[in-house]
Each structure stands twice: as structure tokens, then as C-alpha cells.
Point group: C2
């Protein structure tokens, strides 16, 4: 436990997990609801590190988590963002393939991988649910690859905004849990280009940025039209 840098926060009131749970396989959600232990993790703390043995699996209940890998030249590639309802560390092999860090203070449910594995071996529905989570991770990764394959900073940023808006479902306006640097490392750009692109989108009247973390899509249909 100590090796995972889980903040030993007091067990305050845990927010119920409403958002996005309908997306996930229900019997896996039930398993987490019953058997997982809940932790509160401070912003910036790591859930696990790349190449560590993957003993634990997580579900985000509140806040946001990101996974990333480091290159030898110091560059960082953010692989995925996780929002409430998402499972983290589920598609790892014997070792985690990336490092997971809390972008904001986050509430997560934790289970031992072996426990989940044991339950799945006697429950075909749970086994199937684990498969579906992997399939979902695959599709996310393919979409990410499609974003990274796009030429042009505007297309990449817009692709992210549209995807993120769809995930949060908080109307057209939403709050970004990540810094510009996180965004840049996710999109394969620099923070300068991300910042410039967002300013450019605002000047074009396509988005509104109330603050650097709060974005509103003013013309969602135009934005989506720029993509597929």
C-alpha cells in the first residue's frame, strides 16, 4: 500500500458514483461496489508506476487520472485521461505499461488484481466484463492514435475538445482537469502551440474560455465538422 503513495486521507463522505457508470459493464461495477476499498488521492500523487508489478486495479469515483510514459529524451507522452466511472490499470500485463497520476484530488476504488481474477474465473459474466473493458481501452487507444495522426494543431485540439465534451456530458461547458502541459503531452504538441490554438479558436468564435480551465463549445457542429 505504502509503495503506491495513496494519501492516507480520512474517510470522509464519499460521493456516489453517478456519472458514466451506465457505460461500464454493470457486473464489474457491482463487484467494485461490493469488494473495493475507497481511497482519496491528492493531486499529483501516483497510483502506480510503469514497470511495477500490477497488483492493483482502480476505478475513478471522482476527480481525474492520467497515464503516461517517459521517453529517454525527457519527453512525456500522456496515454489516456480517466474520468469518474473509468477503470485504470485493468489492461496491464504482469507489469503496468504506464505511470498513473492523479490530475486533481481523486477518489478511487481499489481492488487486488488477483481477487478480481479469482472472481472472474468462477463468473463468466465478470470474465466477459473484463474483456469488454479491454475492448473499450483498445477503441480509446485507436481514437487517440487517430488524433495524433492528424496534421495540424487545430485539428488535434478540436478532436480532443469534442471527445472530452462527449465524455463529460456536462452540456457544452466543462472544466478541464489537466494543465496545458498535460494536454500538450497528450496531443503531441507543445504547451505554446496548445495555448495559441485555443486562443485562435476563441478568436474565431468557436469556443469560449472563461478561464484557462473552463471551456465552452460555442459551435459544436462546426467543431465536429472539422473532424470526420
Amino acid at each position: 500500500m505504502a509503495t503506491y503513495n495513496l494519501a492516507t486521507a480520512p474517510r470522509t463522505v464519499i460521493e456516489p458514483l453517478r456519472a458514466r457508470s451506465a457505460d461500464q459493464p454493470c457486473c464489474l461495477c457491482d463487484t467494485f461496489d461490493e469488494d473495493a476499498t475507497t481511497h482519496i488521492i491528492a493531486a499529483g500523487r501516483e497510483l502506480f508506476r510503469q514497470s511495477e508489478p500490477s497488483y492493483k486495479v482502480f476505478r475513478v469515483r471522482a476527480g481525474a487520472v492520467a497515464t503516461y510514459r517517459l521517453f529517454s529524451d525527457g519527453r512525456r507522452q500522456v496515454m489516456s485521461f480517466y474520468l469518474p466511472g473509468d477503470f485504470v490499470g485493468m489492461e496491464a500485463g504482469v507489469e503496468y505499461g504506464a505511470t498513473a497520476v492523479a490530475l486533481t484530488q481523486a477518489t478511487v476504488d481499489v481492488m487486488r488484481r488477483s481477487e478480481l481474477s479469482d472472481l472472474a474465473s468462477s463468473d463468466p459474466r465478470l470474465s466477459r466484463a473484463l474483456w469488454q473493458v479491454s475492448l473499450r481501452a483498445f477503441h480509446r487507444s485507436e481514437e487517440h492514435a487517430l488524433v495524433l495522426a492528424r496534421h495540424g494543431a487545430v485539428e488535434r485540439v478540436v478532436a480532443f475538445l469534442v471527445d472530452f465534451a462527449a465524455r463529460t456530458r456536462a452540456g457544452s461547458a466543462f472544466e478541464l482537469p489537466m494543465t496545458r502541459q498535460d494536454l500538450a503531452d497528450y496531443l503531441g504538441l507543445t504547451i505554446h502551440t496548445v495555448s495559441r490554438t485555443l486562443s485562435q479558436l476563441e478568436a474565431s468564435g468557436l469556443i469560449e474560455a472563461r478561464s484557462s480551465r473552463v471551456v465552452r463549445l460555442l459551435q459544436p457542429e462546426s467543431l465536429e465538422g472539422m473532424l470526420q
Copy 2:
């Protein structure tokens, strides 16, 4: 069957599937060995198209297959290359997420998805094997995303060459089954940049290009050093 453009080639002698089968879950291989029907597909023919219902799953026995998606502006993104021993179409939902095309004449084993699903429902080992195939697809997709995230044409091309050499295991020299255009669409570059980069790598003494399709890695350790 007709809708899949499977070439109605005569059932000539089918090459045994030696290469890379050790990588794959054995009980899934056994299932294909027993229950699949074998087809020979001409180069350029499609196995399936994006958004079609995913009735069939494939295993490549000989030749090479690529999957791709099209953007509205006509650009094409190659999602993955498949070599002998690889399964194609396995991670699809109710519809295929991409179009699959034979890059060369290919020999493929075909099964109905429903048949595989039925067998898996009564065989936990097979069910687990399907999961492992999805996990493998996920890891492939993540590696692809990492390649696309790399700045610099040289890094992308080298990353592809190193990865492909590891997959073929044909010593340091191997034949590329895809065109420069396929490669460019996989790497998010133009054919001009890919061609220039390969010429540049050859001029640097890092690779040898006996023909445009045959590549030999002269300094594999240097090439790998350029990446991670």
C-alpha cells in the same frame, strides 16, 4: 460470402502456419485449425469494410493484411498491419471499426463470429484467449500511438523498422509487404517524406535497401538507441 470479395481461388496447397503462432493463445489457434475455412485473397481485395456488421473473424496464414480508416478530406489512416499468425477483426464490436485489405496475396482462415462466441461461452480457456487477443491489440495500438506521437520523420520510420523487424524475425533483412503510401498512411507522413527518410537512413549507413521493398538493418543497436 460474396460481399466480402473473397477470391474464389482453387484450394491449392495451403502452407502450414509456423511463424509467430507461438505468440498467440494456443487454444484459439487450435479452434481455428479445426473449425476455420481457408481462403486465398488476391492483393488489393478487401476482407471487410468499416461499418459493416462484423460477422467474420480472420487469421492470417500467409501474406499481409492492413486495416485503415478514411477521413472526410480523403486522407487515409492505416491502423495496423497483420502478418502470419495474427488475428484480424477480432476486436470489432457489432460493426467493423476499419476496412481490412490484403496488401499481398494472402491466405486467411475465416470463422463466423457467432460460432467462435458460442464455443467461448462453454470454454473458459477460449474465452480467456479472446481476451488476450484484445489485450494484444490494445498494446499494439498504444505502441502505434507512441510512434505517431514522435516528432520527426526519422524517429517514426526507425520505430516502424525496428518493430517490423522484431515481428518478422527474419534476421536483420526482411521484405516489406506494403507500399510507401501504406507506410506513409501508417506513420502519419507523406510518401515523399518516407522515401526521403529511408534514403537518408541508407546514406547514413544505418540500413541497406536492396530494392524498395527489401530492407536490411545494418546497425540495429544504433537504430533502437534512437528510440527508447
